[in-house]
């Protein structure tokens, strides 16, 4: 009960909701850097995945990146980047860059794999029918395969978003900003209110993002296909 009270008290303190290390700023940092990482990763991984799924070429790349994704622990990736990012910039290379680069790198594989699977998993009969109707390869990709694959694409973005938010949190132990800083500081100052306040905020952000993407996936499911499966 002590901890709950301390956490509630810390979260309710107006002093923690302002200034350069207040909750809104840390939350903004966390969200903005996560969104940028997600966007950058998607810009590369999504077109690549769609193209591989559409043409069937280079599918080994998808398989190996799916495996590599699990074998690359974010803690190790951030760590391994530090010696190199510090060569670029001794200050930011020790705080911002390693985690940010890790976020972008680790967001790629889930987006790539799901974009590929979404398109490759489209019913071949549908594709044949479209081809029979005289649709070109481009029309099939954008008019049929992508709309059908949308929920799967969103699932890929969801996995990547969850991964990116977690990596940003972990980055706080390596000098990165964001909500993880409250956990680092709470731990260093033995302030359980701040530590748990940070945990609550981080968990809320991650679960909120998860819920948002699940809703998005539902909305994106083509109603035509939904009735098909139901019937």
């Amino acid at each position: 009960m002590d901890i709950l009270a301390a956490t509630a008290q810390w979260l309710a303190d107006p002093a923690h909701w302002q200034g350069p290390s207040g909750i809104p700023l840390r939350l903004g940092e966390h969200v903005a850097l996560s969104a940028i990482s997600l966007l950058l990763a998607a810009l590369v991984a999504m077109p690549l995945g769609l193209w591989i799924g559409h043409t069937g070429r280079l599918s080994w790349l998808v398989v190996s990146s799916a495996n590599a994704w699990r074998a690359l622990p974010s803690f190790a990736v951030i760590g391994l980047l530090i010696p190199f990012t510090t060569l670029l910039d001794p200050n930011l290379g020790f705080t911002l860059y390693p985690t940010l680069v890790a976020m972008i790198v680790l967001a790629g594989p889930p987006i790539l794999v799901n974009s590929y699977q979404g398109v490759a998993g489209v019913d071949r009969d549908l594709v044949e029918a479209a081809r029979g109707m005289g649709m070109s390869g481009r029309q099939i990709l954008f008019g049929l395969e992508m709309p059908v694959a949308l929920p799967v694409l969103a699932t890929g973005m969801r996995s990547a978003a969850v991964q990116v938010i977690a990596t940003a949190t972990l980055g706080a132990t390596f000098g990165f900003g964001g909500l993880g800083r409250f956990i680092v500081l709470g731990d260093a100052n033995q302030d359980n209110g701040e530590l748990f306040g940070g945990v609550v905020l981080v968990a809320a952000l991650a679960l909120g993002t998860l819920a948002l993407f699940v809703l998005l996936e539902r909305r994106l499911a083509s109603p035509g296909l939904a009735t098909r499966t139901a019937g």
Binding site: R70, P73, F75, A76, L80, I165, I183, V202, T209
Partner: protein
């Protein structure tokens, strides 16, 4: 970092003993988590198979838990269970659920009804049918889940380094190297933890061949 070379080989050769000790600790923490995680996941999967209506809730729980960033979970548990092995293992265990439960359920779902009917017709008792027919046929997907869980757990063990010098396996070197501005340590910890995950992945591929010889025979016959 301050003109320090990326790798100082003399440090490496002087610390072979402790490095090996960290590898051992890394595997120890990972194996405990995967074994306990597997037992709990098997139970959750068994319940989900019997009571289908519960399955979405089990999945939701496992997904939600997996979504909470590991750093937050480790840090929060310190207050409850201190700097103990329990604090290190609980997050590792709960993160395996989302990788194991769906694969175990899918494994048993993949057993064709015809095969079950045939076993019944041959007079198999329920227990013998489960042990000799259902389980072997479910093995490929179950092992696939174990493979994912093991590789991912080996990666997450590194995060337990935030619990202090007594934990973290190879992650200890990543954090210590960061604090001491010593790239050699970071590279040793990072590269070896990735190597462990890759080795485990390869090990599971071999295990799968061993456990389901018919799959290899079938693909060779093609």
């Amino acid at each position: 970092m301050n003109g320090e070379p990326l790798i100082r080989w003399d440090w490496l050769s002087e610390h072979l003993g402790p490095i090996l000790g960290r590898v051992e600790q890394h595997l120890y923490l990972a194996v405990i988590a995967v074994v306990i995680g597997f037992v709990i996941s098997f139970a959750l999967a068994a319940v989900s198979i019997r009571r289908r209506r519960l399955y979405p809730f089990v999945t939701l729980f496992a997904t939600a838990v997996y979504t909470i960033p590991s750093y937050a979970l480790f840090a929060a548990l310190v207050v409850a269970t201190g700097l103990s092995i329990v604090t290190a293992e609980v997050p590792l265990i709960v993160y395996t659920f989302i990788l194991l439960v769906p694969n175990i359920v899918a494994g048993f779902d993949s057993v064709p009804q015809d095969v079950l009917d045939a076993a019944d017709g041959m007079g198999y008792t329920a227990g013998r049918r489960w042990w000799q027919v259902e389980l072997p046929l479910a093995v490929p997907l179950v092992v696939a889940g174990l493979r994912l869980a093991t590789v991912s757990t080996i990666g997450l063990v590194t995060v337990s380094a935030i619990l202090g010098d007594n934990f973290g396996g190879l992650g200890y070197y990543i954090l210590d190297g960061y604090h001491r501005h010593f790239p050699t340590e970071i590279l040793v910890g990072g590269l070896l933890s990735i190597a462990l995950a890759v080795l485990a992945d390869v090990g599971f591929v071999l295990l799968q061949r061993l456990l389901t010889p018919w799959a290899a025979a079938r693909s060779a016959a093609r």
